[in-house]
């Protein structure tokens, strides 16, 4: 696959991914697995690693797939491809908002979207909370409610309420305590 083709493939994936990195999965599956470029098992490993390493899932997946297909240059080109649609579209919207944000119609639309966005964030938090508290207990993927996870949640929440610090500190503390209690 030439680098130009790689760029265009991931440009298309970026363009049709709406609403979160995981939304890019079916598109990725279609363009790199179904076309025979990457094996299905490799693809599943790629998803798992992308979800559990730093950075947006979609970017991690693009870097990974690009590397598998065309080495280090491929990793860069695929990432550039997947972010290009965002850069173009969002800059147009941001420039437009500057001029139109004070219009009553735009204000009205945004007054409805804002609380709904809060609901969407709450639903994502709900799914993340389930994943955090219900932990796999057997290799075949069965999960059970974890008391240590609940206690860790309560402890971190108490620390957060008493002395709010940078989120990074809680993430590092969560990782360190995870090593001790799980």
């Amino acid at each position: 696959m030439t680098l130009l083709n790689l760029y265009l493939t991931f440009f298309k994936i970026g363009l049709f991914t709406i609403g979160g990195g995981l939304a890019s999965l079916p598109l990725l599956q279609e363009s790199v697995v179904n076309s025979g470029m990457i094996r299905q098992t490799e693809f599943i490993d790629m998803v798992a690693i992308s979800q559990s390493t730093p950075g947006p899932i979609g970017i991690n997946m693009a870097t990974f797939a690009g590397f598998k297909l065309a080495g280090i240059a491929g990793g860069f080109v695929a990432t550039l491809g997947i972010i290009s649609p965002s850069l173009i579209i969002i800059m147009i919207i941001a420039a437009w908002m500057k001029n139109f944000a004070s219009r009553p119609a735009v204000k009205g639309v945004m007054s409805g979207i804002r609380p709904a966005a809060l609901g969407l964030i709450a639903s994502a938090a709900w799914f993340i909370l389930q994943k955090a508290l219900f932990i796999p207990v057997s290799p075949d993927g069965e999960s059970a409610f974890s008391i240590p996870a609940l206690l860790l949640f309560a402890g971190l929440a108490l620390a957060y309420r008493l002395k709010p610090a940078s989120p990074i500190l809680y993430i590092v503390a969560g990782g360190a305590l995870g090593l001790l209690i799980f």
Partner: protein, 180 residues
Amino acid sequence: MNEMAVLYSLFFRIGLFSVGGGYVMLPMLRSELVEKRGWADDRELLDYYAIGQATPGIIAINTATFIGFKRCGIAGAVAATAGMVTPSLIIILLIAALIPSIQANPFVQKAFKGIRVAVAMLLAGTLISLARKSWKSPWEIALTAGAFAAVVAFGAAPVPIILAAGAAGWLFSRKRRARA
């Protein structure tokens, strides 16, 4: 430090610590942009998220582009987005090149179990502060609850929810203005 470098390093840090998707970076964005720097208020932050969700592209990248553009135009958008993707590029290229079995390491798995709990706690805390500031009437609470239920109970996709909420907001504000 000039502002481009500030944008790049800020989003580099956010990219480095957002494990598991765009929502995870919300607590960090709020602490950096709203509380520490005053670059945006809670309302604007929700606007970025809503627009990032309803437009093509990865939410984290859309949000970085949006904030970078607001601060320093096109150069700012590019700097913020470049910062956001740099940690991914470095870490994933290293992992892809070196150890395919890192995922199976039991220590890595234990650490990630703890990280997931911390992420859930931070998101819950951020949600509470955002709700406190943006809920001003029962109408807003109903929209939030409706969007939450649509996803959790009915598995709805974000785009139709955002579009429907936008239409509802437009109709509601027209009615209110007509009455005033």
